[in-house]
Amino acid sequence: MSLAALIVLLPLLAALLLAALPGQAVRLNIAASAGSLALALLLLAEGPGGAGLLRPDALNQPLVLIASLVGLGTAIFSAQDVAHENFDRRRMRWFHAAFQGFMATHFLALLSDNLGIMWVAIEAGTLACVLMVALHRTSAALEAAWKFFILCSVGIALALFGIIVLALAAQPLLGHGEQLSFAALRLAAQGADPALLNLAFVFLLVGFGTKAGLVPLHSWLPDAHAEGPTPIAAVLSGLLLNAAMLGILRSKAVVGANAEVIPPGGFLIALGLASLLLAGFSLWRRRDAKRLFGWSSIEHMGIATIAFGIGGVPGHMAGLLHLWGHSLVKSAAFFAIGRAARIKGGQTMDAIGGLVGTHPMLGWGLAMAMAALAGLPPFSLFASELLLATEAGRERPWLLPLLILGLLVAGTALLHNMQRLCFGAPTPEPAPMRAGIATLLPLWTNLVLAALLALALPAPLAAMLLDAARALS
């Protein structure tokens, strides 16, 4: 059995075990996530290759590694966090099984070399997330889950229509046995009818774009992040959005292979810019801290989408690096804010304040994460935003002022909120509680890794980044 298949099967097996066994859920969850990380490292060492339905390549391997890292961090964080949830035993099992089930579908979505299977995996991952968002069973959580479920189902259904149209376009040119594999589709698209490809891309973009939280299809995202358990917010932002973005990227590569289509880059830039600007201004009006970070995810997906829309090797490198950095930093931010909300007994902005004074390690961690999200050095989001701005200035000068406006508005909003949350007079705590190693360890690990991505990108990862960007453009 190939390593790629093992990566998908391990969490699936863990999910079944967790659903079946009554106790030890927390430890089993961490062990399975650690196993996934080890397998992802092995896969990276093995390098691209392999055939069949799962095909690791330069584009998805780093995403798999980051997914397993964020997964392990989330498993460690949730060991402490779910203890406060007052879940009964059944819901505890349900939560952990759904978490590992989501990880399995996520790895499948990233690794699959078949548009149909990727679609199925993303849909199954959404269903797992819906269950986890609804777990609190408060009316707000139910509305968030319902909205998430309905909007994403419609989105994913539209993406399927896009796949059908793509299959119709490519079908006369495809051989048997290689149907819907990305390489075969790309080859077939060169000779396919451009009008059909245009139609397919619009549906694929709207479908996967709903999942990626791009404006105007974003309205599920802040609700789902705010109302579900914090560990779910971390994997929603850190992982699910990446899988959807990968779907958009793969579709763009397929459709873009044909010289006569309407260039897909323009659509991406329009959606990305709308997301960046709307989210940037919305960030100023947030009163709920988890919702703030949900909006910030919309902003960052917008930035990555603009980078992919500009295209070329530098544009794609900026976009991919941005996705990697965003996953690490955003999950770190959710770990910190989730713990802070527990300590302060509420997740509104007014409830949390002066964190640095009472809990220095947690407070500084949150401050660092928010500074990174605002695009400050030394984190990799700074590097990718700088690369994007340079490339935008060279390729599309008209875009640069709008891009910088969006980045500034969003960045200053985050810094403003950082001051409220981390500095100033501490707000009262219902019961004194320590930050705890289960939060601090994944929080600071992710921050250090995000800084390393910018300061000392390991050579194999750098080579993969370049390879992936070349393959896409």
Partner: protein, 222 residues
């Protein structure tokens, strides 16, 4: 293959009938009739899939047809009927907006689908392109149903219509891999199970299936 030839005509009739049922779903107020219309559309979809299997010589489409018949034609409607009877015996009607406007919107959407698909598919076979136009119309009508109906059940009905349109489109494309039809059918089942789950939860909490009741909870809790 074109107008006046049996494979084309039958496929056309089945697709057209599904489209008609989509219009019924758009205005039907009585819940029982709504569920029956869904069942009818599921059966028509099954027939369309089987017919395509016969025309294309693709036996896997028979499986798709059988799954559609079992799940969408029989199991889901029976479940919904039972749930309505046991959970909400006093609820037989649910509101729709202005019927005239809904119908007009539906007609416009069908025109839009034809205008979008037909010019784009001049290279494809006539059967495939007209099937695709009908499928897109059903998908769009499903969306319209979801928009005009406010209840959780109405949204589920719209979503099911939408999925029916997708499967119709998928079976119309010769050589479409089986994996998609199977997964679509399986996923619809899962979706409905979860939707039922939510509906029950909503009912337990609010004694209503109306998602409008939830709106005070949205946003930032002000």
């Amino acid at each position: 293959m074109g107008f006046g030839q049996l494979p084309y005509d039958v496929a056309h009739v089945l697709g057209g009938a599904m489209l008609l049922v989509s219009f019924v779903l758009l205005y039907q107020r009585r819940i029982a009739a709504l569920v029956n219309a869904l069942a009818l559309q599921g059966c028509l979809l099954a027939a369309a899939a089987v017919w395509q299997g016969y025309v294309q010589g693709a036996p896997q489409l028979y499986v798709t047809g059988l799954i559609a018949l079992a799940a969408k034609g029989i199991a889901i409607p029976v479940f919904l009927h039972r749930m309505m009877r046991s959970r909400m015996p006093d609820r037989a009607v649910e509101p729709v907006g202005s019927i005239g406007l809904c119908m007009l919107g539906g007609v416009l959407l069908v025109a839009l689908a034809i205008l979008v698909v037909l010019p784009a598919t001049t290279g494809a076979r006539a059967l495939a392109r007209e099937d695709l136009a009908i499928a897109l119309s059903i998908v769009l009508l499903g969306l319209l149903t979801m928009i005009t109906r406010r209840s959780a059940l109405g949204q589920v009905a719209g979503l099911m219509t939408l999925e029916n349109g997708l499967v119709l489109g998928a079976v119309g494309v010769a050589g479409m891999p089986l994996v998609i039809e199977l997964s679509t059918a399986g996923l619809v089942l899962v979706i409905i199970v979860i939707a039922g789950f939510f509906a029950r939860l909503l009912r337990e909490r609010f004694d209503s299936l109306d998602t409008d009741m939830l709106h005070p909870h949205r946003g930032e809790g002000q």
